[in-house]
Each structure stands twice: as structure tokens, then as C-alpha cells.
């Protein structure tokens, strides 16, 4: 099929349909208007909240926590992943432990981290960092382990030392997979941060905002906060994709 002139508009069709269904549902009386406000009311609450209300502040707090969590996860997991990945037997020794905790829902760790770090940002950030770190670690280690054998041999044939091979070849070979890990890691960190903001004594953040609006039955505000969280998740993904594309220009080619 040849791309048409209006193909750039295709993504908007889904958005338009969603809003249309929402509109019909509210105005057609299909849903209780108390549970589902009009798109207009939710949108107004979003704009108002983001510009001069508390939502903008909550949004920034969540961004801040997610960024810190991902940052700590990355500085711990990337070097560790490289070390484990470059010694396959070492990785095999720890594989079960990594897989086990990677499969453990991070929310199950909340009480433990509460005991360790108390009620505050430390707990939220560290649980999120813990979850994200395992995802990043796993991806980096696999990226290093799956470095093309021919490329390693080529470096060896040119007389590269083990350390040179690690820095000049393995590290760069693992970059595409590292970015996969970072993208998954930041998504997971955001999920954990939002949940933590709901239930671990928070005074701000998007999770807190959603929860508080629900408790106060302020439905437009709740939808606005949900939408803000969605927009944040999408934006983070897009950001990492953009960075990846300019940084790992050879990825997938």
C-alpha cells in the first residue's frame, strides 16, 4: 500500500474515537455523570491543575522521583551488568537470584523498604530503583553476553587486550540492549513510584493526586491526574527512544 497524503493524521483517529465514545457515553446518559465527567470538564481540570493548581507540582515531584530512581538503578546496574555479562560463568551463578527478584512484584518489597528507609522519598525511590535495577542489569548482562563472536574475534585478531575488547567492543555491542533495559526500567520505576505515592504516606506526586481526588470524589481532577501520569509515561518512553536513536545510530542495522 502506498502511503497517502493524510497518513500523518492516522494516530489522531484513535484519539478522536476515544473522545467521541466518551462524549456519547456521558451525554447519552450511558454512564453516571458523577463517575465519568465530560471530556471538557476533565480537560479543564487538567489545564487548570497543570498551570496554576497542584497537579503541576505533583507532576514534577513524580518526575523527580522517577528520574532519581532510574539514575540510581542505572549507575548500579550498568557496571554490574557489564561485569556479570563479561564473565558468563559468573552470570550463570547469579542468574537464578536475579531472575527470582526480577519476577518478584516490587510492591511486595514496600514493607521491607519502609523498615529500612522509613516513611519518605528514600523508600519510594529505593524500591523503584531496586525494581528498575534488576531489569537494567538483566538486559545489560545479556547485551554483553550476546556480543557478536566475530566482532570479538576480529578485535582479538587485531591484537586487542581483554580490557580493550571489553571497552571498545563489548560495551558498545551491549548498548542497544542497555537502552532496552533503560526504557523498561524507567517504565517500571514510574509504575512503582506512582503506587508508592498512593500508599506510602505521601503529600505530593501523581499517585497521591489520583488517590486524593478519588477520596474527595473530585472526578474531573482524578481523570486529569490519570491523564498526567499517562502523558508522563509516554513522554519518558519517547525521550529514551530519541536519545537511543541518536546515540545508538547503528542499532538494528
Amino acid at each position: 500500500m502506498t502511503p497517502g497524503r493524510f497518513d500523518g493524521l492516522l494516530p489522531f483517529i484513535g484519539v478522536f474515537c476515544l473522545i467521541a465514545v466518551w462524549y456519547v457515553a456521558v451525554h447519552g446518559g450511558l454512564v453516571d455523570p458523577v463517575l465519568l465527567p465530560t471530556p471538557r470538564a476533565a480537560f479543564d481540570a487538567f489545564i487548570k491543575g497543570m498551570t496554576n493548581g497542584k497537579l503541576g507540582h505533583d507532576f514534577l515531584r513524580t518526575v523527580e522521583r522517577t528520574v532519581w530512581a532510574t539514575f540510581f538503578a542505572a549507575i548500579i546496574a550498568i557496571p554490574l551488568g557489564i561485569v556479570l555479562g563479561s564473565a558468563e560463568r559468573l552470570y550463570r551463578s547469579f542468574e537464578f537470584v536475579i531472575d527470582f527478584f526480577r519476577s518478584t512484584p516490587a510492591s511486595a518489597m514496600f514493607p521491607l523498604f519502609l523498615v529500612l528507609f522509613g516513611v519518605g522519598d528514600g523508600t519510594k525511590i529505593s524500591v523503584a530503583a531496586f525494581g528498575a535495577a534488576l531489569v537494567i542489569l538483566f538486559n545489560v548482562a545479556y547485551g554483553v553476553m550476546n556480543a557478536r563472536k566475530t566482532r570479538l574475534l576480529a578485535a582479538k585478531a587485531m591484537g586487542a587486550s581483554r580490557l580493550r575488547v571489553l571497552f571498545d567492543v563489548m560495551l558498545l555491542e551491549s548498548l542497544p540492549q542497555t537502552f532496552v533495559g533503560l526504557r523498561n526500567g524507567v517504565s517500571l520505576a514510574l509504575v512503582i513510584i506512582v503506587v508508592a505515592e498512593m500508599f506510602i504516606g505521601s503529600r505530593d506526586g501523581l499517585g497521591h493526586s489520583v488517590f486524593e481526588a478519588q477520596q474527595l470524589f473530585d472526578m474531573p481532577r482524578m481523570y486529569a491526574a490519570i491523564f498526567a501520569a499517562g502523558a508522563l509515561g509516554y513522554a519518558l518512553n519517547l525521550l529514551f527512544q530519541t536519545v537511543e536513536r541518536s546515540f545508538v545510530h547503528w542499532g538494528g542495522r
Binding site: 557478536r148 563472536k149 566475530t150 566482532r151 574475534l153 576480529a154 582479538k156 585478531a157 587485531m158 591484537g159 586487542a160 580493550r164 571498545d168 567492543v169 558498545l172 548498548l175 545508538v248 545510530h249 547503528w250 542495522r253
Partner: protein
Amino acid sequence: MTIRGLSKRFGSTDIYENFDLDIPRGELITVFGPNGCGKSTLINMIAGLIPLDAGEVLFDGMRLSEIKFGYVFQNYREALFPWLRAFDNIAYPLKLMKVPKAERTARVEKLVDRLGIRLDLGLYPYQMSGGQQQLVSILRAFVVEPEILFLDEPFSALDYEMTLFMREQLQRLFMETRTTTIVVSHDLEEAVYLADRVLLLSRHPARVADFVPFDAERPRTDAVLSDKGFVQTKAHCLEVFQREVRRT
């Protein structure tokens, strides 16, 4: 180059058992033999990419670590570094030898100039055609001014048109530098066409089935392919090959 008492086992199969070979300096040797006889294994062992079980390989009495050599892989896509531009790929071995940057640049430029190669070296490998990428691999092997050069089925991943072109390029490089060159090939026509001598290997454990000289003058052109000498040499190689394949 002398090989003495080379032995190699994969599992329970003896690929090489007490294998001896002498390769004269400054010649282009092609290696041809039945599938799985260990053609690539031979040059991989000589180039130190896989360990020998026994035996030794000396280059004018020196060990591999004391000489400069180049290696060209069949799979150029995986042998080049996609994160480096072609120019930096070619210069990389010099970087490993701790040659200063200005000199690296000068040496790559000199090499490309001398060989009259027209290539945009500012491109990344994935922006180049297969043949161009393999040419970059070959230049990377040549840039260190190697005493010996190994090529493992260098053209078998290219289409026929590109293969013909690359044969000419390799021949020119060889004539220009007279570097001792060992090419593993799975194409008998190519093996004879390129070679000063064709090394015919037997089934494993591999022996030298024959070491056939072919002394047509260089530069050889397509016309050589129908020369009497070429046809006879190729026929002889084929006969030896068939005999080795049928031997149980």
C-alpha cells in the same frame, strides 16, 4: 611460514593430526578442500584465533605474537564495528598499536591513495554495500602492513558481480604489496584464479592432498579463465578433490 606437528580435535574427531606445511613468503596461497575438512580451522589456528592441541607455527622462526598479521572474516557485517565510520574502522588496529592520531590518519590516507580506492570513508559500515564493507575489512587488515594476511572465504557472502570486482581488488592489493596471503575458498575457479599455489586438503584428519602451482602472469583478467593452463590446473585440482571426496 612453517607448520610442524599441528594437531586439533573437535570432540572425538581428529581434524588435524601431526600436520606439516611450508608456505613460501610473498605468495598468494588459496586453500580448497571438501566441506568440513578444516580449511577455516587451519587459518584460524595459524592466526591464533583458536588454540592448537599440539604443534607449532613459526613465521621466519618467529612466533605469531612477534609479527604483524591481518585477518579478513567472511562475515564482514559482524567483523566491522558499526559504531565507527569506515575510516576509523580501518584505523582501529593502528590505535591498538598506540600509533598517534595524526599518524593514523596519514597512514590510512596513504594506503587508500596508493591503492586508488574510491570510497566515501566518512560513511558508517551499514550505509555501505556488502562489497564496500568487505573492502573496508580488507583495508583494515592491510593498514598495519602485515607480514601475512589471512582471508576466510572473503567473498562468499557477496553476489557474483561484486565477487568478480573484489577478486580484482584483492589481486591489485597483492601485486602492490606482495604480502604473503592465505585465502580460504569454497569456489575452485576462484581458488585457481587468485593463487600462486592451491593448497588442496583431504578429508579429516586433513593432509596435504596436493599443493598445485599456478603461475599465470599477473594482473590476471577474465581471459585467464579460458586459458589452457588455467583449465588444466583447475581440472587437475578437481580430479584431486573428487578423489579425496570419494575416499572413505
